[in-house]
């Protein structure tokens, strides 16, 4: 149906637009002397992802492979057989895991590509202000080539997690956000903290971001883009007149709103004032938190999920600082912690047994349906356990694999800039550019 294609393409564009959001949030939360570097990274990361995901990532993720560990059976460069938008029995091709979606192949590819880009860009913030430019670009390439697609296959490519465990992750709490978050955490740990962040006296030194206007813009763009991310993951509107897409949009918005409020309040109570950084992180936490079950739950539960995510993210930011894991923008707290939380929420808040309900929604695989009812809706712990397995399995794959990737990059081209360059800022060192030429900056910035 044409309307489905319009829907998925437009939603995909909105997800693409999130690149702007990530770039602005991350550079805004960093110091001005590193702004060019972060903006460059965030710009180039999507280009690198595009190349990698086209070359091999897509085929690895969606190539035939029911119940398998990887999806590929020989195709690359999106070169497998496919007769989309034929669906169901009429579908013939190797990308069967997406055969339920009645849109043309390139529509599917476009939408999946922008998701891969999101996973890769999440890493950027956590390793900011100290990583070498090309080291990061290489990692992004690998991320979209072989890290993200493998777990993506498990979850969305009808791999073992989906088939054997009926693991569900509507729009990517695990498949996208946790994957990005795990890789980010691994990177941040391997790089170590920025100079001056943790005093030898045990004190944590705040390193304020340089541009809250940019952070604001970025965060609102992300919220906006999430209306593509979640509602677009229905992959269509024709089958149900768009009812599910609308529900997902409202659920998404409600979780973001609730999390914004609870994060602001939590920061206010714990820290004495309503820190804008926490407000913005809170919003993102709510958006991540609702992503896995936005299609499976109702608005009240969405509000609850958001509210919890908003508290969680503030505590998590403080916790990671206590652990001396230096994540300049809170990417780990937002994407990993809330990604895990959101994934589990499917096992808690799914309002009814959705297994085998594909006929009613445009979303789902012909043979599968959806998750069982959650713990709070009489479904017991069945789905919750499946979700837990998914969370653990993905972590167990992404952490070691990305650690290896980081370490190889470190050995070959080096990972961290020289201390002198870090102090002077990566903009001069890596790019020879200044972000704000003509503005006067204060001394130690």
């Amino acid at each position: 149906m044409a309307a489905d294609t319009v829907w998925v393409l437009v939603c995909g564009m909105l997800v693409f637009f999130m690149n702007l959001g990530f770039g602005c949030v991350e550079s805004g939360f960093a110091r001005s002397k590193n702004a060019v570097n972060i903006l460059s990274k965030n710009f180039v990361v999507f280009a690198a992802t595009t190349l990698a995901y086209w070359l091999f990532g897509w085929d690895l993720m969606f190539g035939a492979g029911d119940g398998a560990w990887i999806g590929n059976s020989g195709s690359w460069m999106v070169g497998g057989l496919d007769n989309s938008p034929a669906v169901g029995d009429k579908y013939q091709g190797v990308y069967g895991a997406l055969s339920w979606a009645s849109v043309p192949l390139w529509t599917k590819f476009f939408f999946q590509l922008v998701f891969a880009g999101t996973a890769a860009t999440i890493v950027s913030g956590a390793v900011a202000e100290r990583i070498k430019y090309h080291a990061f670009v290489i990692f992004s390439f690998l991320m979209a080539l072989v890290i993200y697609p493998v777990t993506g296959h498990w979850v969305w490519g009808f791999g073992w997690l989906a088939k054997d465990w009926n693991f569900w992750d509507f729009a990517g709490c695990t498949a996208v956000h946790s994957v990005g978050g795990w890789a980010a955490l691994t990177g941040a740990l391997i790089l170590g903290p920025r100079i001056g962040k943790y005093g030898s006296d045990g004190r944590v030194h705040a390193i304020p971001g340089h541009n809250m206007m940019a952070a604001f813009i970025g965060c609102l763009v992300l919220w906006f883009g999430w209306f593509g991310f979640n509602p677009g993951s229905t992959f269509g509107v024709a089958a149900d007149g768009g009812a599910l897409a609308a529900q997902v949009a409202v659920n998404t918005n409600m979780a973001a709103a609730a999390a914004t409020l609870t994060a602001t309040l939590t920061a206010w109570l714990l820290l004495g004032k309503p820190d804008i950084g926490m407000t913005l992180n809170g919003c993102l936490a709510g958006l991540v938190g609702i992503t896995a079950c936005a299609a499976f739950t109702n608005i009240t539960c969405s509000a609850i999920i958001g509210a919890i995510a908003g508290v969680l993210v503030v505590l998590s930011v403080l916790f990671f600082d206590k652990m001396r894991v230096d994540d300049p923008v809170g990417a780990t707290s937002v994407h990993l912690v809330c990604g895990i939380f959101g994934t589990l929420c499917v096992g808690l808040f799914t309002t009814s047994d959705l297994t085998g309900t594909v006929a009613n929604t445009p979303f789902g695989w012909a043979a599968v349906g959806g998750p069982s009812a959650g713990l709070f809706f009489g479904g017991g712990t069945k789905q919750l356990i499946a979700q837990l397995v998914g969370v653990l399995a993905v972590g167990a794959y992404v952490v070691p694999v990305s650690a290896v990737a980081w370490l190889i990059i470190k050995a070959v081209v080096g990972l961290r800039v020289a201390p002198q360059e870090e102090i002077e800022g990566l903009d001069i060192g890596e790019h020879g550019n200044e972000a704000y030429h003509g503005f006067v900056m204060v001394r130690t910035e």
């Binding site: 944590v204 705040a206 004495g272 820190d275 950084g277 809170g330």
Partner: protein, 115 residues
């Protein structure tokens, strides 16, 4: 000739300029500086961690004057720069430095002519 350097509160700049022009001091140079003195700074925070901002924004005036003008200038700065009748911590300081020579770039004039 003297060079008078005064450090004042930013929001007193207009009042001091007014007081100076009352004593016919019309020329001066203004600098944005940061001060560290008895006045306590304020606390900022960022993502859960306090930042002690102990360098406070101040304005510095540099005024070259003839010797006769030193006392009126000081008096004018004190008048315009003091907070309330009592003054407040942080109101600032005035330093008077001896000056050997003054040159007007436009004309090359020297000394008190040039001030």
């Amino acid at each position: 000739m003297k060079l008078i350097i005064a450090i004042i509160q930013p929001n007193k700049l207009e009042a001091v300029k007014q007081a100076l022009s009352d004593v016919e001091v019309f020329r001066l140079t203004v600098l944005d500086v940061q001060g560290f003195g008895r006045q306590r700074g304020h606390a900022e925070a960022y993502r859960g961690h306090e930042i002690a901002v102990n360098l406070l924004r101040k304005v510095q005036l540099q005024i070259a004057v003839n010797d006769d003008f030193v006392e009126p200038t000081i008096a004018a700065i004190v008048k315009g720069g003091r907070s309330g009748d009592e003054g407040e911590i942080g109101d600032g300081k005035i330093f008077v430095l001896p000056m050997d020579e003054c040159v007007r770039i436009r004309t090359g004039e020297r000394g008190i002519e040039a001030i």
